[in-house]
Symmetry: C2
């Protein structure tokens, strides 16, 4: 008999057949939506004993197809495990269930004067569990690091339903192999995470936001290293090229920041702290460095409203591009100094292969999101030539010390490129780790590895 939380109606199966990755859809055989850890465990035991593949799902906002049920089986959604169990203002620690929406945790922390820094653009829909599975980054990683830096411990289940607890309720821990950090970024292929112990910070009292306009996109990203050499660690250093601004304005149906579209490239820079005078001084240094590197206009977001408008523009870019039609998003990450060369190379590849690209991203971390638009490309071009261009792009990135993914993960759509980054025996080592956790290969099958 099926566990009661398993839904096999076509409507539900269709709803869980996709995430935010391109236009990909794979219909699961069923969708389990457990209401408790106990129910989750019984779903896993049931499925394991029947060799049913399990795909854990959070907010289904992933961009690498990590939750696509490509081998059918069951999607197990953690969405109802959505309680913030504990907000410890003395130890600056939160305990949350995996299905908590990231923004809910941010707001709950803020309400008690605390701060949960990881801040993916999809924060209103994505979940802590999904963020952990992909080691999500977001706009504050340049100063505050990625999700990984905030995970102190995890509770979850091995594929057969046995419970697994990792880490501790402490800021430090050197006790045995760090399974916590192995699970972060493992994309739901090793265990199903049900709870997390997260580190919080004191909330900075002030945030100052600056927008710098550059005549061309390459100058904008070239200024990033110069700014970060000034001894300041900004809380965000975001880049948008003109095309991105145009897509954002078209999607929102309004011009959020008048004049922004007149520039080839924009840098959105934020500093935070408890002393406004210090932030003003930092902004002055950043602005001056920007001017010295070719910026021709700068704006301060003086009010909370202006700041919010600026971020609304930046945050909508992913969905703006997505809603414009078929595209592929590459989540390249390189050393910051390589950004100008990377951006130029992308445009050169576009000319060579006949595609248009829209670029933006977390350039303080060297993380450039490259959106390749399908537009008028033929089926053959889209299915064969563009992937060849992407392979060239990744070869370029890896040769310069970069990686296939900065924060979206490998999932389903990038796995074919893994042999560019790793030697065969290194991939085999990762596969062996997978088998150790999941000997039957039932947990999120065919993800990460090129031919798994």
């Amino acid at each position: 008999m099926l566990p009661t939380c398993v839904d096999t109606t076509l409507e539900t199966r269709e709803r869980y057949s996709h995430d935010w990755t391109e236009d990909l859809r794979f219909l699961p055989d069923a969708v389990a939506i457990p209401q408790s850890e106990k129910e989750l465990q019984s779903v896993l035991s049931h499925a394991y004993s029947r060799d049913i593949p399990i795909v854990p799902a959070g907010g289904r906002t992933g961009l690498s197809g990590g939750m696509l049920p490509v081998k059918s089986g069951w999607v197990v959604s953690l969405e109802k495990l959505n309680r913030i169990l504990h907000l410890d203002t003395d130890n600056l620690i939160a305990v949350v269930e995996a299905g908590v929406i990231t923004q809910h945790l941010q707001e709950a922390a803020e309400a008690v004067g605390l701060f949960y820094p990881p801040d993916p653009s999809s924060r209103g829909s994505c979940t802590i569990g999904g963020n952990i599975a992909h080691n999500a980054g977001g706009v504050r990683a340049v100063k505050y690091g990625t999700t990984r830096n905030y995970v102190l411990g995890l509770s979850g289940f091995l594929p057969d339903g046995r419970p697994l607890r990792t880490g501790s309720y402490t800021l430090k821990n050197s006790t045995g192999y760090n399974l916590t950090q192995l699970l972060v970024g493992s994309e739901g292929t090793l265990a199903v995470i049900s709870q997390a112990v997260l580190r919080l910070l004191p909330r900075p009292l002030y945030v100052h936001t600056l927008l710098l306009g550059f005549p061309d996109a390459v100058s904008a990203v070239a200024a990033v290293s110069a700014i970060l050499r000034k001894g300041i660690l900004p809380a965000a250093v975001e880049f948008m090229e003109r095309e991105a601004v145009l897509f954002g304005e078209a999607y929102l149906g309004e011009v959020l920041y008048p004049g922004a579209r007149d520039f080839g490239g924009l840098l959105l820079i934020e500093v935070d702290g408890n002393f406004p005078e210090a932030l003003e001084a930092e902004c002055a240094i950043i602005e001056e460095t920007g001017w010295a590197h070719g910026a021709t206009r700068s704006w301060y977001a003086q009010t909370a409203g202006e700041r919010e408008r600026l971020w609304r523009l930046r945050r909508c870019l992913g969905i703006a591009v997505k809603s414009s039609g078929p595209y592929k998003e590459e989540d390249t990450v390189v050393p910051r100094t390589v950004l100008p060369e990377l951006l130029a190379y992308v445009k050169q590849l576009g000319e060579e292969y006949g595609f248009r690209s829209v670029c933006y991203g977390h350039v303080g971390d060297g993380n450039l999101h490259i959106n390749i638009l399908r537009e008028g490309l033929s089926e053959r071009s889209w299915r064969e030539e563009v992937p060849a261009a992407v392979e060239k792009l990744f070869r370029f990135v890896i040769a310069r010390g970069g990686a296939l993914s900065g924060e979206h993960g490998i999932g389903w759509v990038q796995r074919r490129y893994m042999p560019l980054q790793f030697q065969p025996h290194e991939l085999e080592l990762m596969r062996a780790l997978k088998r150790t956790f999941d000997p039957k290969g039932l947990l999120n099958p065919q993800k990460i590895f090129p031919d798994a």
Copy 2:
């Protein structure tokens, strides 16, 4: 034929028969000191094909016996792989060999205006490779995190000599399983690390240091949570009880901070940043909070000389206790709010089991180093009763969300306590990971696991 870098003289074998852990000694069959990665690789291949156990060694300053060659075999010292290969001031990244002394990297970074925050007390002797193997912490972890937070990528070798590269030359990476973070803290049991790619930060221009004296030790640690609730993230929050100060002064043969010994407990607190006015304001808040929680005296370290004296006192405590005679050091870590109860419990156990303890540590992280002195204890008491007391201590720690080790690792001397922290199937999962990397069990055998 033996590789040329292998030394079998008794003198050398004796020199590598111990680290800083208690008075433990195990004679290796030989000591290999490779001069290059190539030589390291050939040592490993040679040993692997002959089933010779290998124990990687750094500065041999470990406190959990992680480098003790308990099954003989070869100690492989990384000390001659000691080059800083690259200090990248544009991307704020360093590439170093494993044998680089931590303080050398700190100084090299500082010379170019950069900052490598991990700062173990043994920084003048310990190595980056050893720090990575144990996920070393130190005095700045409360703000800056442990070694783990600075490791972006690793190069090294599997036990059979095959090369392994993990991570990338970037600040973010979500590409495959994070083998980098699995290797950090694995205590030389999975692979031999030869190089690391490390993240650096801009160097804060100013550091302010404050010492608060409390009538008793428990009040001092009770004030820690209150200070950290004030929205300030100090760069260090260190604790010394009176006994620790007395040991330090006796070891150094001078009174570094007159009056310090008149207090039951001291907190040494440091804030850093680029704006002195902000630091002054933070120190005032910290001081006021200290007074409100029972502090009866406070000192500012006004000059670099005063600051240096204060730190010299704090940093010598480990060696001061060690040089006083046989002792056991427990590296307990708990949520900060548990510190007063933990400290009281340690003293209660001391009364019950007849031992004296000296406590100090990184209390901002909840990391309390508990040194149990042998002094007049009988052999039976030392070998049987004290371990029973330590087991009680760890049960107390774990029941409150803590862990066996905050930063020293499990190594040889704490492995018997691992079943207190982990379920049998969790330990078996870790053992399976070990077998995946090291099927013959030749790399640092008998470490971490209770009966491995």
